[in-house]
């Protein structure tokens, strides 16, 4: 693929992520904060999000797996953190899954919480995969001498 094609693919792919609700306007805010003096800002903050989320998901799995009884306060605290960080980077579906999760925590509903945990994990891995594809495409564009056409997204 040549640079122009890759740039077009990048634009279409990004638009689809917004359209399908994987990303919301907060992600656009991140893209706006990136510039020549901070060219890797989005990748950096999203990488922090990946690390942080995986840690939280591991902790959540451990807490929910407790045979002796689930500490819902702990579960809620972790979900609250995950909700916050997903909201901060614009990972809308993950955030929404966390919102649903918290209401099951409020009800101390184990089955519901287990289902939600599964749902949150699914959404997380989905958006992680999509963002990794996006960043990989950005790397290819830059390597080929082009620039990432953020202004062609039209709504920023």
């Amino acid at each position: 693929m040549d640079v122009i094609q890759m740039q077009r693919t990048w634009v279409e792919y990004t638009k689809s992520l917004y359209r399908e609700g994987f990303l919301d306007s907060q992600f656009a805010q991140l893209q706006l904060l990136q510039d020549e003096s901070n060219p890797d800002f989005v990748v950096e903050v999203v990488s922090l999000f990946f690390e942080d989320s995986e840690r939280l998901l591991n902790d959540l799995t451990k807490v929910i797996d407790q045979q002796q009884g689930v500490d819902f306060k702990k579960v809620d605290a972790h979900v609250h953190q995950l909700k916050g960080s997903s909201s901060s980077i614009g990972a809308q579906r993950v955030k929404n899954a966390c919102v649903a999760f918290r209401s099951f925590c409020d009800e101390q509903n184990i089955e519901g919480s287990l289902r939600c945990l599964h749902q949150v994990k699914q959404e997380y891995y989905l958006v992680k995969n999509k963002l990794e594809n996006l960043f990989s495409l950005e790397q290819k564009i830059v390597a080929a001498g082009g620039s990432v056409p953020v202004d062609e997204l039209g709504f920023l």
Partner: protein
């Protein structure tokens, strides 16, 4: 380089957590006579710290980001390990403190109180950030002396308004601050009154304290409206 003694202790701590100027390089601290404002940002979330740091730097603020209220107090020299009543002045030249509300250990509210209780730092404006729109929480923070309460995720437009709160040791600034606070108190009272709001879960829940279906009819961009707009 920093002088020996307490100064170097502070700078070591700051370097651990990352003091940087707007050009991204490590600096020894805000210079005297610098026109740039220095913000101390407090948030336990690594993602949010990164975000707030970039937001602040993009508005030409210098930033020191720490991960807890305890660290913030240590940075300011208020941690009680030395004779704090003698610690005279804001030599770090912190112009604004932005803190998350919900943090493990010391909450942003508790940090706010400690700052307002200190002779050296009570004049520094404090802004609280939260992902939860809880009126009683907002009100307590403002009562305790916070300048503003920002809903997360914090945006560029929130940050550009912060310059209004910066303290330069000017008496005129205090007057402005109390009028902003009064306006916020009025807005909060107005919001508590409308009879048409029907809230489904307003008693126990810690999240939004009024119904998502209520929305202002006119677009609102002032800090008080932004603060309470539901996400």
């Amino acid at each position: 380089m920093a002088a020996a003694g307490t100064e170097s202790l502070r700078w070591n701590l700051a370097e651990e957590v990352g003091v940087s100027g707007c050009n991204g390089n490590l600096v020894n601290g805000p210079g005297s006579g610098s026109e740039e404002f220095h913000v101390l940002a407090v948030d336990d979330s690594v993602v949010d710290r990164k975000l707030i740091e970039r937001l602040l730097k993009s508005s030409s603020f210098k930033v020191t980001a720490v991960d807890s209220g305890t660290r913030a107090l240590q940075y300011l020299g208020l941690d009680g390990e030395k004779s704090t009543s003698a610690v005279g002045f804001n030599d770090l030249k912190v112009n604004l403190i932005m803190t998350d509300y919900s943090m493990p250990g010391m909450t942003g509210y508790e940090l706010l109180k400690k700052i307002k209780e200190s002779k050296a730092f009570k004049e520094i404006p404090v802004v609280i950030m939260s992902s939860e729109n809880v009126l009683t929480r907002i009100h307590s923070c403002l009562e305790e002396g916070a300048e503003d309460f920002l809903m997360k995720p914090v945006k560029k437009s929130d940050v550009t308004k912060l310059k209004d709160f910066m303290v330069k040791g000017d008496q005129a600034e205090k007057g402005k601050r109390s009028s902003i606070k009064r306006k916020m108190d009025d807005d909060i009272l107005k919001m508590m009154m409308p009879p048409t709001i029907a809230s489904s879960d307003d008693d126990q829940s810690s999240s939004a304290s009024h119904s998502p279906s209520s929305s202002s009819s006119s677009p609102c961009t002032s800090p008080s409206c932004k603060r309470t707009r539901l996400q």
